[in-house]
Symmetry: C2
Subunit: 225 residues, 2 copies
DNA sequence: CGCGGCTTTGATGTTCATCAAGTAAAGTGG
DNA sequence: CCACTTTACTTGATGAACATCAAAGCCGCG
């Protein structure tokens, strides 16, 4: 695992606007942490002390509601800021975050980031844009999901994984139960509809191995379901 | 209508971090516009050219989906930035906005705001925070609504109007149909459940006049419904 | 080996959307 | 200002979509 920020493949994505000195100062306070699949990165209600950045892996952002039900708010892909949803406005995390796959996370003191925002206008503007984008995406996906019926939601989530893995064939990193939490369905219905899609020869599934056979029809279902 | 930014009651809320010169430059490009109830401020897909700020009134942010159904994303109260959800990341408005009440909106060139973000770090940081807050609120309310049954949603929206008007008695600015769009219910069910709540002596309603009789029970319903 | 969690299928029940139909209110044009 | 049209509001009846319940097989793990 390459641990130098200088050489990080994402350096230019987020920190392109920083000069040498700013960048050096930033890396001083930076830590990189690895989390195993299933581990919890932070819990709803904990103090926000760090700015979190997903270098590698996949995370879920979720909320525990009432009696041990979980509602997944979104999935974080590499290059996403984690918890950015609220880092600049809240004192405590609004959502919990855990690793769906083994993941590497870069951790920077919140104060360091704030200092750079104050000192470097281009960085500030860029960060505003990225944050705005992430929020739009998450809100948009929630609105979209709620308009669809169960078949449409299921197709939507399969297509989402296709986009994450850039392939028609992939291993999903989540259980059927977690799929349900992501798209607001009961586990039983997730399974039922996956079976239907299999019988209709739209997908192949075996455990967590998924393969999309008829992409066009799947997209139709996601669109009009 | 007082048109000077110097004297605006909200000046300190948003522009407290600006020095005299910055503030003067900003006000040069500023316009204030009045919209009548029902008028459309912007449409989904239009170019974002301005930074919009709600001075007075009430707006709805919504999306037209498929065959002339509307989905309301949120309600904007005075002091909220409008369309801030996406101003810094998108070229076009993601949502349409219209006036629920007669409203005054301050319009500032997007470029002016961006310049200040670049030049004034404290302003940038403050804006990041406010934007983050607004996004959290909107996302939170969507998540909350989707967990509730129809009774719970109806109670929730009544309580929201209570908070907007700071009173147990108010005139709602929306039709039954619009309430439905706000909380993802059919118009008929909105009416049915409002009638139930009336029969249960929890609220009094007559047309658009609402009065909360039993606040405690209403809160219970909103919480556990 | 047995326990608990995940997966699967079928049967049953509830909630809510849809359909239908009628009244009231509000805008429109002659 | 009144007939006319349209839009909002209201209630009841029906059906579809989805949640819940139940039961059984499977797998990993202590």
């Amino acid at each position: 695992m390459e641990n130098s920020c200088e050489l990080c493949i994402y350096r230019s994505y987020l920190f392109d606007n920083l000069n040498k000195k700013e960048f050096a100062n930033l890396t001083l306070t930076k830590t990189e942490l690895d989390f195993k699949k299933g581990e919890i990165i932070c819990r709803e209600g904990e103090k926000i002390l760090h700015f979190l950045y997903l270098k590698q892996g996949l995370l879920k952002i979720y909320k525990t509601v009432g009696n041990r039900r979980e509602q997944i708010v979104g999935i974080t892909k590499p290059k996403d800021f984690i918890g950015l949803l609220s880092s600049f406005s809240e004192k405590e995390h609004l959502y919990s975050i855990s690793a769906l796959e083994d993941s590497s996370i870069c951790i920077i003191e919140m104060e360091s980031i704030k200092r750079i925002v104050r000192e470097n206008g281009d960085f500030a503007l860029d960060l505003l844009g990225k944050m705005s984008k992430l929020n739009s995406q998450i809100l948009g996906s929630r609105l979209t999901i709620n308009l669809k019926n169960l078949r449409g939601r299921t197709a939507y989530i399969i297509l989402m994984f296709k986009d994450i893995y850039h392939s028609l064939k992939f291993e999903i990193p989540v259980s059927r139960k977690e799929i349900g939490e992501l798209i607001e369905m009961r586990t039983e219905n997730v399974i039922r509809i996956l079976s239907e899609l299999r019988k209709d020869k739209i997908i192949k599934i075996e455990g967590k191995s998924f393969e999309i056979i008829d992409l066009h029809r799947l997209e139709q279902i996601a669109e009009f379901g």
